[in-house]
Amino acid sequence: MTHDLVYNILSLGVPFSVALLLASLGEMFNQRAGVFNLGCEGIMCMGAFLGFLPAFFLKTGPLAPYGIVLGFAVAAAAGVAMGLLFALVTVTFRAEQGIAGIGLQMMGWGVAGTLFRHFVGGVTGVEGLASWPLPGLSRIPFLGGILFNHNPMVYIAFLMVPASWYLLFKTPWGLKVRAAGTEPRAADSMGINVNRVRYQALMLGGAMAGLGGAYLSLCQAKMFADDLVAGRGFIAVALVYFGRWSPLGVLGGALLFSLAQSLQLAIQVAGIKFPYEFAVMLPYVLVILVLSLARKARMRGPTHLGVPFNREMRY
């Protein structure tokens, strides 16, 4: 009985983490480059809706199998566009990043909801991605089902963790990103175009947030609704701090949050006497607790986070 419960919580929690993980890794690149994008939530909303749309329209036609792939592509493209917009406002026009982020969030949320009512209307489901057990690995007792019996996007998202690490720490671009967020003046003096790097990071971050949003509508809920994203974009931003700007840390944060969420669901399903409202709060409370108790490591993060770069400004 307890064995089953634990198994259920874990095997449900792993795919729950995908949307957060994608968005949060993207946000990590933004912040490493010196820009924090609170609009992540808005991008996820747009990604969720625009990803859903092709799958919805192609549902019955001969192209149905491609609907989902197309959905992810559209969502990523929309994310890039929104990242670009955010870069224009905060990097080129040097607007206050926090305020611009809130604007982007409201825009994404509002536009997605409006378009949804216009084109789709009521609640309609889509097929979703079939799960794809990895040969051999999925047979491992206990762990196999938890880790290796999911849809392909889960594997892709988890592969993004080492890929992000490599990109950030082992490539010239990653080096530039880290310098641009920590000591933009130094990067500039060595001939690195700080603003261009920030544009690129914001576009990458946008694409990943878009994918994260599309995962919610295409694979997790298999439908779209206004409040589908439900603050996950903000949690993604928090997880970047929580994970101390490292891919592994972000992964840990995403897993912690999603496991708390599946625990919360399990509590409800098992009919344990526990006020439902408190159960829903659990993951959020956990994140706040961990964030405030975590040791503040200095010299690790991007110290120029949130500061627009202006070469001729000395302060």
């Binding site: 082992k170 490539t171 990653g174 920590t182 001939g191 070469r311 001729e312 000395r314």
Partner: protein
Amino acid sequence: MAKAQPIHELQLTGITKRFPGILACNNVSMRVARGEVLALVGENGAGKSTLMNILAGLYQPDAGTIAINGEEVRFHTPNDAYARGIGMVHQNFMLVPNMTVTENVALGLKQHHRFMNLDLKATRARIVEVSEHHELPVNPDAYVWQLSVGEQQRVELIKTLCFGAQLLILDEPTSALTPQETDDLIDRLKRMTAELSIIFISHKLQEVKELSHRVAILRHGAVVFNGRTEDHTPAELAALMTGREVHLPRNEGLLVEGPAILEARDLKVRGDRGHFALDGLNLEVHAGEILGLAGVSGNGQRELAEALTGLRPVESGTVRFLHKDMTNKSPAAMIAAGLGYIPEDRHHEGIVPRFTVKENLVLKDFPTPRFSWSVVLKLGEIARNAESLKASFDIRCSSTSAAGGSLSGGNIQKVILARELAREPKALISVYPTRGVDMGAQEFIHSQLLARRRAGGGILLISEELEEIMNLSDRIAVIYKGRILKVLTSLEATREKLGLLMAGVAE
């Protein structure tokens, strides 16, 4: 980037650069030949850094041209300047603290950037090669934040040399170095002139004399003198720089034994790395005296100043100020009791860079009745205060509404000095007060400190410049590894004695 062609001759013609409200460079022309060391000197805010930033491709000039070997060049970005063999070591270090030395250099070595793969091995090899060739020891795998200021300086030099610099611009490379490190650097630079040309900025004319072949003097953005170094004494150069004779004042007063006002007893304080930076330190400052604290930096000076001002917790021992136990009292309590502080890091601790000059001048006093009616600031009085301090302390800024951070280093220092001295502190802790400050301002700061002493204030003067300490102090204490090794009166103190004590040799 291919190795740049040798620079036989660099010519600047008519360079002009304006910032809002200020003409930073005014029709500047100068020339540097191969193997030559040109010293660029001038008062704080004269435009030296601005001119060099133009040469390094960071700033765009409003007018004027740069020519290399007779061919006109335009630098739109620092890359363009590097490609022509011009490298600059900036006044404030341009290093990313949370990256290793190798990564810092790799940032600029674009030929080691491969698609999706960074060739750190090649960069590391290049660093080792350059560091051996120029005898500049460095650990390529260390993180920059772990390095001392002197080591960071070396990394900056190596970085610039790795990029293939033919002309090296050094903007006040010695202002934060210890005397030994400075001598060392000058020696190395002398040897480098066999291969490179150097433009060297410094406020210390002794260094200029020692290293340079020619001197150019900037004043208010314009070249006022250009000539051979050997034809002029440092005093002449100082006069040309400021337009008048400069005499650093000396403490000629009699030693008066006033009551002890600031005392440290058996002070134990931890440094940033967790070790005891102060290890049972005893010290007392009397009213009406300047107590000089000599020592190689890093022996606990910073921690002492912070412990006395309430910025750093005291583990054990006591701090007494005006006969009251003030151990671990808040900075606000120390300020209210009448303690003044000129911090080491003027940009981050001395001022709020984004605040205007007039706001920075009342940072410690704005809640007093003079500057506010309970919750409303008296803006008129704040402005009047700023104007009068600007005049009496000769603060050079376009207006007192300019951001504090836009001022040149020496003028920021004057803002801090003005704020602290206007409060007539009973005791003043002054840490490296003339670091990076020009001769004229140095003279001014010294005379202000002496005036405060005459008015009965006690001053703790922390400095690495023996010259400064010996000129101003009544008594001199030498700090070594977190303790006071010995206290000498100014009559007993000689350079040799102090030098030995600073190296930790007591008798």
